[in-house]
Symmetry: D2
C-alpha cells in the first residue's frame, strides 16, 4: 500500500526503502530536496511542499512524520492535519513525548483524523533486520496500516519462538504491537529506552571494573591484566549476559580495546529523562534507570559544583586539602 513520509533522515529514509523493496509505494517530502531526490531515484514519488505531499496521497491518506520530537513534529503534524480530511491517518514515528501524543490525538480526533504514534527501534540496522515497533492509536487505523507494519517489522526471523504464546496476538512475535490508545506506543518505547540506558550502564560499570583490575590501588598479588575484548566475546555464547548490546560491545572492543576514539562525553535523549518522570509519577523505585541517566549527565562535566562543595566542607571541618 501507499505511505507518505515526511522527514528523510536515517530512520525515515530507510523506512521508505524497506517498504519500496517489498512492494509498497511511497510519497516523500523533506526540507532538503536532495534527500527527496535520492529516494525518487529508488522509486518513491517526490513532493516539493507539504501541500504537494498531501495532494499526492491516495485516500484515505497515510502520512508518517519522522522528525525530531518537540516543535518540528508539532508544527508539521498540525500543518498536515489542516490539509487532510476525515478518515486520514497521521503517524508520528519519532521519539515524541507520550503526553504530546495524547494531546495531539485529541485535537485530530475532533477533526475525524486518526493519530497513530509509533515507537520505533532498529537503529542503523533496521533497514536490513527490520524495525521493532510499539504502536498507539485507534484500532481501526492500526489495523488498516497492518501491511505497512508487517513489512517494516523484523518478522519471526531466526529468533526461537517463545513457548506458551499460543493464542496470543501473533504480531508481538513478528516484532510489532498495538500497545493501546494514542500515546501508548511512545510510552512503551520510552520505557524501552530507559531500560536500554540501564542495560548499557550495567555493562559499562562491569567492564570498567575489569579494566581497572590491574589498578595500582590493589595489592600486587591481586591484580589482573585482562583482555577486555576477549571477555566481551566469550560472554556472547552460553552466558546469561549475552545480548545485542554485548554483540555491539564486542565489535567495538575488537577494533579498539582502549576506546581511545571516544571522549567519554555521552549524550542523552528525552526518553531516558521521561522514563524517570514516569517512574516518579507512578511512585515506582527506579534506582538503576536513574543512575544510568545521571552517569551520562556526569560524563559531560569536568568538575562539578557538587564535588567542589564536598571539598569545601572537608576543608572546613577537617582542614583537608584535596589532592589535585
Amino acid at each position: 500500500m501507499q505511505l507518505g513520509m515526511v522527514g528523510l533522515g536515517r530512520m525515515g529514509g530507510n523506512i521508505v526503502r524497506r517498504l519500496l523493496r517489498n512492494g509498497h509505494t511511497a510519497v516523500v517530502f523533506d526540507q532538503d530536496p536532495k534527500a527527496v531526490a535520492a529516494l525518487v531515484q529508488e522509486g518513491a514519488v517526490g513532493a516539493d511542499s507539504l501541500e504537494d505531499f498531501v495532494s499526492k496521497l491516495e485516500l484515505p491518506r497515510t502520512a508518517w512524520v519522522m522528525l525530531p520530537a518537540g516543535d518540528p513534529t508539532e508544527v508539521t503534524v498540525m500543518k498536515i492535519a489542516g490539509l487532510m480530511q476525515p478518515g486520514d491517518v497521521i503517524i508520528d514515528g519519532g521519539n515524541s513525548f507520550y503526553k504530546d501524543d495524547i494531546r495531539r490525538a485529541a485535537v485530530l480526533d475532533e477533526k475525524g483524523l486518526h493519530y497513530v504514534d509509533v515507537g520505533t527501534s532498529g537503529g542503523v540496522w533496521g533497514l536490513e533486520r527490520g524495525y521493532c515497533m510499539m504502536i498507539g492509536g485507534h484500532k481501526e487505523a492500526v489495523d488498516r496500516l497492518d501491511p505497512i507494519f508487517s513489512t517494516l517489522a523484523p518478522g519471526l526471523g531466526e529468533v526461537p519462538r517463545t513457548p506458551g504464546r499460543d493464542g496470543r496476538d501473533p504480531r508481538a512475535e513478528h516484532g510489532y504491537i498495538h500497545a493501546g490508545p494514542s500515546g501508548a506506543g511512545h510510552f512503551v518505547k520510552m520505557i524501552h529506552n530507559g531500560i536500554e540506558y540501564g542495560l548499557m550502564q550495567a555493562y559499562a560499570e562491569g567492564f570498567d571494573i575489569l579494566k581497572h583490575a590491574n589498578s595500582t590501588e590493589l595489592p600486587e598479588a591481586q591484580r589482573f591484566d585482562l583482555n577486555i575484548g576477549d571477555i566481551a566475546e566469550v560472554w556472547r555464547r552460553g552466558s546469561v549476559v549475552s545480548s545485542w548490546l554485548l554483540d555491539l560491545t564486542a565489535t567495538a572492543l575488537a577494533g579498539d580495546e582502549n576506546l581511545d576514539a571516544f571522549s567519554g562525553h555521552v549524550a542523552d535523549s528525552g526518553e531516558g529523562r521521561w522514563t524517570l518522570n514516569a517512574a516518579i509519577e507512578e511512585a515506582v523505585p527506579a534506582h538503576v534507570l536513574s543512575a544510568a541517566l545521571y552517569a551520562r549527565f556526569r560524563s559531560r562535566q569536568s568538575a562539578t559544583y557538587a564535588d567542589k562543595l564536598l571539598s569545601a566542607m572537608r576543608k572546613g571541618f577537617g582542614g583537608h586539602q584535596e589532592p589535585k
Copy 2:
C-alpha cells in the same frame, strides 16, 4: 580425555554428561551415592570416597571440584591435593571468591600441583547449549585441558561472528577464555554475575513502570493498561534491548503475566557482593551494580528499620503521622 568430577549437583552432573556424550570419560564422586549411581548408568566410573576417586584417575590427574564456595570447596580441594602428585591438576569450577583461588593456588604450587579456577555460566541450559567458561591458571595446565574445555564450550553455534577479530585468540568466540593466572577466571565470572544483576534490575524496573502505567496515582487520561507479556515478546526482535534475559522474561510472562507464583523475595549470591567489594577496592563507581544488589536485600525485608527511622524523624519535625 579423562576428567574426574567431585560434586554431582545440577552443574557438576551435567558437565559430566556433556563430556560423556562427546567421547570423553569420567570418574565421579559425590557424598550422595545415588548421584554417583545415576552417572555410572550413563557411562561414568563411580568412586565411593575421595581416596578411591583419586586412585582411579589416570596420570597426570585432572580433578574438577564442583561444590558450594567456601568451606566445602576449601576442604575438598585441600584433601584431594594431599592425595595427588606433581603435575596433577585441580579445577575449581564453582563460584569461589577469587582471593581464595589466589591463596589456594599458591599452596598447591608449592606441591607442584596446578590449580585452575573456572567460572562457569550456563545454568540449566548448559548441557544442551554448552557452558561459557572463564579460566584462570597456569598456561601449561589450561592448554593440556583444552579438549575438555572445547567440548564443554558452546562453540560458534549460530551466533554471528564478531567482525575484526581475525588474529585474536579463537577460544573466545567458541565460548571459553584463559583469562589469566589463578583467580582470574573467577574474577571475570564474578563481574559477569555483577553485570547480570544490573541487567536484570534494569529490566525489572522498566517492566515495573509499565505495569504501573495504569496506576490511580496518574491522571486518568494518561493511564495505559498495557499487555506486559506482549511487550516483552515484541522487544525480542529488532530491538536494542533484546537479550537472553529478555527471552527468559518473555517466557515467564507468557505463562503468568502477573507473576503471582513469586513472593517477591529474591536471593543473592556471593558474586554480586564481591563485585561491589572489587569496585570499591579499585575506586570505580558502580551505582547500577550496587542498586541491583540492594534491591535484592530490600526484597527480603517487609519493613526496614531505616524506613521506621524516617517516619520517626517526620513525626518529630512535622508532627506527621504516616499512613499505614
Copy 3:
C-alpha cells in the same frame, strides 16, 4: 501590620499566632468555622467568606494563602485575585510547584496584583522558634511585607554568626531571604526538601547498618549489640554529623529504640519528586536525592513486580527456587 490568612491548619494557624503575639493584627478565614473561632479568641478578626475576608483587609491588602498545593491553592488564589485591586498582594505560603507560581504571577501581574511565594520551613516548631522563609516575588511587595517576615523569622537567636558575611543581605542570617522573582521562593524550598530527604536517608541507612551489626549473617566474633539510642545521642556533641534531624532522631530513640510504633511506610510529598524533575531538566546528577525518594516509594510496597520479575528470570535461567 495587618495580614490576612486563609487556611488555619497547623502552619497557617501558628503563623497567625506568632504575628499576634508580636504586635501585628490578622484577619482570618477557614472553611472550618471552629478554626476561625479559635483564632478570634486569640485576637484575630474572623471572616465567614472569602468576600468578607477581602473586605476586612486594609489597603493595600495582604492575603496569605496557606492551603494544600494544587487545586485548593489555585482556586483560592484566583478567587481572591478577583476581589482585589491593584497594589494588593497575595502570598502563597504553601508547598506549591514553582512553575504554578510563575504562571499565576503572570496572571496577577496583568491585574496589577503582586504574587509572592513563600517557602516555609519550621514544622511544629515554628511557632516557638520561628519560620525559615524563602521568598519569591516583586521587590516592592517583598520589601513592604518585611515587618511580617522579620517577625515570623527565627532571627539571629543563639546560632553563631557565619564569619565573612559582612556587607551581605542581613535578612539571610535572620532566617529569611528574597530569593528572586515569583517562583524562586518555592524553587529554593523545593530543593530544601529534596536535601532533607537525602539527609534523612543517610541517617536512616547508617542506623540500619548499626542496628544489624549483630546480624546472624555475620561471623559471631564480628557482631556487635549496639545501643542505638546512645549512639544518636553521642553524635549530637562534637561530631560532624550533628544536626537538627539528629536531635529529633535522638529524641525518638530515647523513647523507643526499636521504633515499633512505626509501620515502616513512609509518605512523600511533591517537593521531593519535583526536585528530581528539576535535576533532570538541568542535567545535574542527583543519585542521593533520587535514592532517598525511591526508598520511600519502596517502603509502601510489600512485594514489587520488579522483584518478582527477578525471581522469574532466575528460575528461567538457573532453575532457582526463591526462599520465602
Copy 4:
C-alpha cells in the same frame, strides 16, 4: 591522670593539648622530634624512642596511638605491646578497620593487656569544642580511663538535652560512649563517617541543582539566578536541614560562592568504603551511602572507561557520534 601519646599530628597533638590544659599529664613521642619539642614546651614529657616512651609511663600504663590506619598503627601497637606488662592499656585512636581491632585485641588479651579502640570525631575544632568519642574495649579499662575521656569530650555544652533520657548512660550526652567490646568503637565511628559522606552528598547535590537553576537547558522563563551563599545561610535558622555541615558550607560560600579554589577532586578514606562492605555483609540496602562514595571516586577521573563504552555502544547501534 597521665596519658602517653604516640603520633603528634593535628589530632594527636591537640588531644594532648586539651588534656594538659585541664590538669592531666602526658608523655609524648613522635618520629619527628620537633613535634615532640613543641608539646614539651606546652608541658608534656618528651620521649625519644618507643622504649623511652613506655619506660616513662606510670603503671598501669596508658598509651594512646594516633597514627594512620594500617601498617603504621599495626607496627606501633605491636611494638608497644611487646614493652608493656599485664594491666596496661593501649588505645588506638586512629581510623583503624574494626576487624583489625578485633584481631589485635585478641593478641593483646593473651598477654593480659587491654586494647581500647576510640573512634574520634572533632576535626580541627576538637581542641576547642571537644572530641566526640566512640569507644570499644574491656569495661575495666574503659572505666579506668574515664577521667581522660570525660576531659576530651565536649560535655553538655549549650546543646539542649534530649528529653526522655533519664536513667540512661550519662556519658552519651557528654559526648562519649562505651559502644561495646574491642572493635565496637571503630565500627560506630566507621558508620558515622559513612553517614557523613551521605549528608555531604545530599547537600552537594541540592546546591548543585540550585547553582544550575539558570542553566540554558531550561526555558528562559523558568530560570533563576540564585544567591547560593544566602541560601546556605538562611537554612541555618529554623530550617530542618540545619546542621554543622551546613554551617561549614555557609562559611565556605560566604568567602567564595563559586568555590573556584577547589578542583573538584575529592578524596575518600577507608571508613566510607568499609561502611559499604559492612552493609553488604549485613545485607542492608545502602543506596545513599554508596552513591556518596561513588561520587568521590568519579570526581577524581576526567573520563571513564565506562562512559567511553556507552559511546561505543551508541555508535554501534544508532550510528551516534558523541558531541565533545
